[in-house]
């Protein structure tokens, strides 16, 4: 279940909205525009990065028509920021564009953020396209739900697509209360026929179906309460809307080719995320109860991140992570049904910020193993370099990762920041 960045974006949604004239959406746009025009004297800044990813696959491809070439992707991510002098209003924009050599689906443009914010003493208002993160664990993010994932560069789920949003944050006696209106849904994009790290049968987005009669225009809702209690932190969240992950089922498309058809059900999710920080240990827990199509399931990730500072009397810090995961479905839609993640992070704390990260995801009732290794450092002042290896080993045929069995890779990334 690999998907890649969607080319549509929330900005289209705003434009569509302007055309069809939905009144509350228009008033939000009006607030955003008035805020922007008030920032004539605002402080502004531009920054971003350009990067190249060169990816070599260790094994010959397994799926029909899949490429065996070295994949090269060029990405540019500029961002702008304007803040009013009184710091009450903020406008942020962050774009992403990329081109690749293997598969036309690698080419993508995305509005990651186009967000107007207004701040007051006991509330905040955000409207536009935004990115949000809920959660505490490292190996996967079960609670995090607002944004569609952008999995084109990697399958780790850390890259996201901007989501059209109206968000009100209120600071209350019971913590920080966040309310979200989420108009406009973004589908996952999947690699094309030639792409690596794809499903066994390619996904045909022309066959996309939605449970909601409103399709991708359903208004989704979410809310979250978060509070800090000394060493503890607790978030409780609820989401009602179209599932960000589709169900994929075999079909034959118009050209008579066997493909997977995506179906996006409506779901309801309760989530909690909690962390307790004591001495060198961070104790973490994320859990959800999700109802899809009348049946409910649970998913839990939790564990410990333990820091050892200044190992062997050097400046190097070592963090050890241990995170088991559980999913109540018999065969989970993801690789985290009954799995254990073990991770190590070595931070050398040198002038180049050298870091080495290693992770192993092991299935406890199958032989499947996924290994991830990363080494990164700064070069001079404006460049960074990262080497990554991701290895799929002994992946059993009934594992959700089985489509990637031949897709172990090594990636070299060079980034220039400005």
């Amino acid at each position: 279940m690999i998907s890649i960045v969607t080319r549509s974006n929330g900005f289209d949604e705003v434009l569509r909205c302007l055309r069809v004239g939905c009144s509350w959406k228009l008033s939000v746009v009006a607030i955003v525009l008035s805020g922007i025009t008030q920032m004539v004297t605002a402080a502004s800044s531009i920054d971003g990065n350009v990067r190249a990813d060169v990816r070599y696959f260790l094994d010959t491809s397994e799926h029909r028509l899949q490429s065996n070439q070295i994949s090269t992707v060029l990405t540019i991510e500029p961002s702008w920021r304007y803040e009013s002098v009184d710091r009450q209003q903020l406008f942020r924009m962050s774009l992403s564009g990329r081109v690749g050599n293997i598969d036309s689906q690698q080419d993508a443009a995305n509005v990651k953020e186009l967000l107007f914010s207004k701040f007051s003493d006991d509330w905040e208002f955000h409207a536009g396209i935004g990115q949000f993160f809920w959660g505490v664990t490292e190996s996967q993010h079960v609670v995090d739900i607002i944004n569609q994932l952008d999995l084109v560069q990697d399958i780790d789920g850390e890259e996201k697509v901007g989501q059209a949003v109206v968000n009100l944050t209120k600071f209350t006696d019971v913590g920080t209360l966040d309310l979200f209106l989420l108009p406009g849904f973004q589908e996952r994009r999947y690699p094309g026929m030639k792409g690596r790290l794809r499903t066994q049968l390619p996904v045909d987005s022309a066959l996309t179906r939605f449970e909601s009669a409103a399709g991708r225009h359903r208004l989704d809702l979410a809310a979250r309460v978060f509070d800090t209690f000394g060493a503890g932190e607790l978030g409780v969240s609820v989401f009602s809307g179209t599932s960000r992950a589709p169900q994929l089922s075999p079909a034959v498309n118009a050209a008579g080719i066997a493909v997977l058809a995506p179906y996006y059900p409506v779901m309801f999710q309760w989530g909690i995320d909690a962390q307790y920080t004591r001495n060198d240990a961070l104790w973490k827990l994320e859990a959800i109860r999700r109802t899809v199509g009348g049946s409910a399931y649970y998913a839990v990730t939790g564990g410990i991140e333990y820091g050892i500072y200044g190992i062997f009397e050097t400046d190097t810090d070592l963090s050890v992570l241990f995170e088991p995961s559980f999913d109540s479905r018999a065969l989970a839609a993801g690789p985290f049904d009954r799995d254990v993640f073990v991770g190590l992070r070595l931070s050398f704390n040198d002038a180049q910020s050298t870091e080495i990260v290693g992770g192993l995801l092991a299935d406890t009732d199958r032989s499947s193993r996924m290994v991830n290794l990363e080494a990164s450092r700064r070069l001079g002042a404006d460049w960074t370099m990262k080497l990554q290896a991701r290895l799929f080993r002994n992946i059993s045929f009934d594992d959700p990762l089985s489509a990637y069995r031949a897709d172990s890779f090594v990636t070299w990334r060079l980034s220039r920041f400005f």
């Binding site: 920054d47 990065n49 961002s79 920021r81 903020l90 942020r92 914010s117 701040f119 003493d121 905040e124 990115q131 949000f132 993160f133 505490v136 850390e158 944050t169 600071f171 920080t176 800090t228 000394g230 060493a231 932190e233 962390q275 920080t277 001495n279 060198d280 240990a281 961070l282 820091g307 500072y309 200044g310 400046d315 810090d317 704390n349 040198d350 002038a351 180049q352 910020s353 700064r378 002042a381 404006d382 960074t384 980034s415 920041f417 400005f418």
Partner: protein
């Protein structure tokens, strides 16, 4: 005449009865330094760090620092990284406490993620520099025990020299020897001794400037590591006091406004 004799007698006996120990004098000097620096309310400043390794190669960092004075508790501080560009927008929020552990959060702008982190890493280097986290943290009185050593003339000015011993866990130091000028109680030099009591680092503070007619701040701080030959220079600029920062500017949500 009789009254004068009585006064002299009282002075002699009271000082004999209450002979200040070296520990008491060390503490009272530190308390006086703290008292003179009270009431600054809030502060913004820019800090440029120039790191130099033993071969003389340099690299630099720039951070924006905001601090809030908290009555009856440790200060709050927000550190926003602005250079090198790859860490631009990363921010570090700290709520310090005199005795119980500090609360610390890190903001990772690429992920829009706020992560509560452990505050027990005191002795690790801050951004690869010769300054440890504990060197840059809010220096509350309760964090050390003190001992007055002697007075000396340093850089043409009368100075107290006191020793202080970290009372918090996980310090990288056994002790610090601190030079404060008698006139203004400003720290001009600190020698840091490692856990084995060998001289590790020497900090010197330069270019003190007075703000709001009261608060002294150094323009430059030089930290030399005597064991590795590396050094770090902190250049401070744009000191702004009492610009009206509030608790809201130092809460967890404030991190998300940075980038």
């Amino acid at each position: 005449m009789k009254n004068v004799l009585l006064a002299v007698f009282l002075m002699v006996t009271s000082s004999a009865l209450h002979a200040e120990t070296a520990e008491e004098k060390g503490l009272s000097i530190s308390q006086e330094a703290q008292r003179r620096d009270n009431g600054w309310a809030d502060l913004k400043a820019t800090m440029v760090m120039v790191l130099r390794n033993s071969r003389g190669e340099e690299s630099s960092r720039r951070v924006e620092i905001r601090s809030l004075e908290v009555a009856g508790d440790g200060d709050k501080s927000l550190t926003i990284f602005s250079y090198p560009a790859d860490i631009k927008g990363t921010a570090f929020l700290s709520h310090t406490h005199p005795t119980r552990p500090d609360e610390q959060w890190l903001y990772l702008p690429a992920l829009k993620r706020i992560k509560r982190i452990s505050s027990s890493n005191k002795s690790g280097p801050f951004m690869g520099s010769e300054f440890a986290y504990e060197d840059l943290a809010s220096q509350e009185i309760e964090k050390y025990s003190y001992r007055y050593l002697r007075n000396v003339t340093y850089q043409g000015q009368d100075h107290f020299i006191i020793e202080r011993y970290p009372e918090y866990k996980r310090s990288g130091y056994k002790r610090q020897v601190v030079w404060l000028d008698v006139e203004h109680y400003r720290v001009t030099k600190i020698e840091f001794f490692d856990r084995k009591d060998s001289l590790l680092k020497v900090l010197t503070c330069h270019g003190y400037t007075q703000y709001l007619g009261r608060y002294w701040r150094a323009n430059e701080m030089r930290m030399e590591n005597k064991q590795t030959g590396k050094s770090t220079v902190l250049q401070w600029s744009d000191y702004t006091f009492q610009s009206g920062l509030s608790d809201r500017d130092f809460d967890r949500n404030a991190l998300k406004r940075i980038r």
